[in-house]
Amino acid sequence: MLAVRDRADRAAFAQLFAHFAPRVKAFLMKGGTPAAEAEDHAQEVMTTLWHKADLFDPARASVATWVFTIARNRRIDAIRRARRPEPEDLPWGPAPEPDPADMLALAQDSARLGDALRALPEAQRSLVERAYWGEESQTEIAAATGLPLGTIKSRIRLALDRLRHEMKAT
């Protein structure tokens, strides 16, 4: 990603495309977007990644997190045709060159978070995935899964507790 950002490196972009475009497409389809449309949006998301590469800050977000937020915004703007209110930017503006130690810490945290998510019990992980993939509130998840709302809430809470616990253990 840094090669894309700093050198506008097309080969590096192709690698990111190979990894993320099929995931973004799957993400949008799980939210109910038809395949052909999801394909177009996934291409747009990757194009946005190229054009907004300057905004990528490796000390603040992993590439996957950054792609996720671009895909999420695409789903809100173009698919749900809604506005997303964004918090005010911090007054210090874009960070100067990030500290390699911060970048490393973030990369390690991201890897641990991924491991912790994969290690969640299936019942908890699938509800967290649904909460992110779908255009669904917890009430709608309850209707779709037949699970009582209280069960959904407590499973998601358990999942978050486990993730917090994993992120604390060093």
Partner: protein, 234 residues
């Protein structure tokens, strides 16, 4: 990317629930609620960090998600459409390894972004409608299933006793109110569900201004607010 941050000594003591933060990070929250959460984050560094953590969960899920193969030639088409973006200009001089200390907060009006953008200016540009006893309201147009509005409660006055058929988020912008759930000052957010029935009372001293959003009509106990309800969409 801590998932758990200790308060940094801010005066804010009531924050959005994990469920709300997750829905906002996932992009599934109706716009009216998202406006309240985003405005709170503008006022609360702790929740800004929580938002990054919840977005990181989305990133980790995306990274380990199943894939769906892209169509033939998708990469070639996208590559053909890319501008020849110039290489990044070198970093500004005096590179610093840490974010600089935060400068003193910009003087800003009562309404932080993104709320100011929705209102179209400062608090002075709000067109209030009276609800009685000096309580005033102004609906903020949003799409989706939630209704957002500003509430103006004169010091010492109360919002009529009501229950909720859905969720209600109330963010204090100025002054403070108290109800059975606690005291809510500037930046505090109250998340009320169907189980909460309350009579928020503004503290004496300063008029209280709140941003509130609901996804269902409130249930007022007294008759007069029930008559006002269809008129003001509260």
């Amino acid at each position: 990317m801590p998932l758990d941050l200790k308060s940094r000594g801010t005066a804010i003591s009531h924050h959005p629930t994990d469920a709300l933060m997750m829905e906002y990070a996932a992009g599934t929250l109706p716009e009216g609620f998202a406006l309240v959460v985003a405005t709170h984050i503008s006022m609360c560094d702790e929740c800004r960090a929580r938002l990054h953590a919840f977005e990181a969960v989305g990133g980790a899920l995306l990274d380990s998600a199943p894939t769906c193969e892209m169509g033939e030639g998708a990469l070639a088409r996208v590559m053909a459409g890319l501008d020849a973006r110039p290489a990044r200009s070198p970093a500004p001089v005096a590179p610093q390894s840490r974010p600089q200390p935060r400068p003193p907060a910009r003087p800003r009006g009562l309404l932080p972004e993104p709320l100011a953008g929705y209102v179209g200016g400062g608090i002075g540009s709000v067109r209030w409608k009276p609800l009685g006893l000096g309580v005033r309201t102004a609906v903020i147009p949003t799409g989706g299933s939630a209704t957002a509005r500003l509430l103006y409660i004169p010091a010492g006055e109360s919002v009529p006793d009501h229950g909720h058929r859905g969720r209600e988020l109330t963010l204090v912008l100025q002054g403070a109110f108290a109800d059975a759930e606690g005291r809510f000052g500037p930046g505090d957010i109250e998340c009320a569900g169907t189980e909460v029935e309350h009579t928020p009372v503004a503290e004496p001293g300063q008029d209280c201004i709140c941003l509130a959003a609901t996804d269902a009509l409130l249930r007022f106990r007294a008759l007069i607010p029930r008559l006002a309800q269809p008129l003001f969409r509260i």
